[in-house]
Amino acid sequence: MLFLIEYDRSRGEIVTFRGFGGEESRSAEQARLEMELDLNRRGVEREVVLLEAENEEALRRTHRRYFEDLAQLVS
């Protein structure tokens, strides 16, 4: 699966999160580009990243920084 994440670094929080099926890679890449264009035009600083994982649980295990706060990271 593919996951498109819009992440606010200064708040350490996900703003938007969207999943795509493995066969939808072109749609996912297009969605990433459109999101980046929109944020850039509005002058909003966000990290936009497209990640691939077997499922959301696997993604949450290997990219905890996006999903957890500091205390959760070491719990």
Partner: protein, 249 residues
Amino acid sequence: MELSKTQIDRLGGRLRKGNITDSDLRLLDEYRRSFTAAYGIVAGGIRRRLELEPTGRPAKSTTSIAEKLRRESIRLSQIQDIAGCRLIVSDTAEQNRIVASLVELFPDNTVVNRRQTPSHGYRAIHVIAKVEQKGVEIQIRTTLQQLWAELSEKLSDLIDPAIKYGGGDGATKRFLTSASKVVARQEATEVILLEAQNAASGLGSDSALTHQTIEAIISGERHVVSSREEMIQMLHMLIEDAARLKQKE
């Protein structure tokens, strides 16, 4: 039509300066998509041949690319981690085994051993596999290396982006350095433990084990547990300190 190296590096120059336009974003997107096939080969190869499940980032984010260009005297065409994936393993012995398998699977490779040469406390092993003229970075991290890296990144997000690259305030830097040393000690203990276990298995039966070997195994196992606990305690202190720093802002 494929972008020329000149076009790519000119784009990198504009990204470094900031004020990114729509056409720059579209061009960067095109460049990043040129890694998709190579990424698919690498991630697919890991799944099929090694039966492992990597988590991948088919393309580095614009923010991270622009930051890297500003931080380092590097051209866009030289960035080696445009596409990459990550494998989390239990310990250094498994890390070594997987690195050896990856090197065999992707013969055109570069191994960056950040256990031997840590980068601002960051420890891991990266294998950069070159397929179809494109580099794909495979990060192999133990669970403790991963915990350290996630924490360092989160602190960089919340407090100061420089933290991840050895900057930031003194207290956070000292804590991350100390935590990284605990991880290194844990790794050294794992090596001793593995050697003792190998020696023990070579001796055949329990009765043949020398007192010294048994002691080495017990002591090694204790060290593995205690250094993990030490690291967790240290990280809790770091979090309290980070919360204090955030309140001051």
